[in-house]
Symmetry: C2
Subunit: 136 residues, 2 copies
């Protein structure tokens, strides 16, 4: 049961357009994909960095998890890290046998057609970890 | 001036051996490199994830930046993200013209023979960003 790659680093941001402009202006990074994820309460933009992504996340509502993260954090910052795995369902089953606490008991739909699941930070060194199975 | 890849995600941890055992037990990740970085006040271990790394950082002293991060954060978590660049000095010069606030005004030695510099979170969307030039 392996982590194949760092799929993305998720940034919680106040203003998506401002964050996109920042990365374009400083690093010539352009937006590969945009999506509004109602289930997660975010509007997201993906920027490619090598074979990985920076995922910019602006909360849609004041009580969305990303908004609450920023409140706790005192502002924007790194919200989570996503690791690529071959099979999210199998990885969850494996982690369950190890006693890892999960946020998502079952794989669910993520952005850009991926299958995802989050682990609970209390079982992952304080880090909010997302498992990502990318069909491409 | 580009970010070529996500070089690593840096985790602040309470206990390096425990964090190594956690990643070995759950994901079969093994330690590629260990180093004690007195200048940064950390003992580190690198785990390979695809072409990137998880960098585990245990503070050497109670007043090291990583220890202070954990105090502020309420425990372990993601401390910073490192992006690979072709030339740290050139990237710093470019960012300076853009008015970006730097932690390191000049490139310095990082672990495993890399040249590095940190940007200030106040100029990087609340994220502690490290630039990494890897000679290999």
């Amino acid at each position: 049961m392996r982590l194949d790659r760092i799929d993305h680093v998720g940034y919680a941001v106040d203003d998506l357009e401002e964050a996109i402009a920042y990365h374009r202006d400083l690093y010539d990074l352009t937006v590969l994909h945009r999506e509004r994820m109602e289930a997660d309460g975010v509007s997201e933009a993906l920027l490619a960095v090598g074979g990985s992504y920076i995922q910019l996340l602006e909360p849609l509502t004041a009580d969305s998890p990303v908004a609450r993260f920023m409140e706790h954090n005192g502002g924007p910052g790194i919200h989570h890290v996503g690791y690529g795995v071959a099979d999210v369902a199998e990885t969850l089953a494996h982690l369950r046998t190890k006693g890892v606490r999960l946020v998502d008991d079952h794989p669910r739909r993520g952005s850009r057609g991926c299958t995802i699941a989050f682990l609970h930070p209390s079982s992952a060194m304080g880090v909010l970890v997302e498992l990502v199975e990318d069909p491409r």
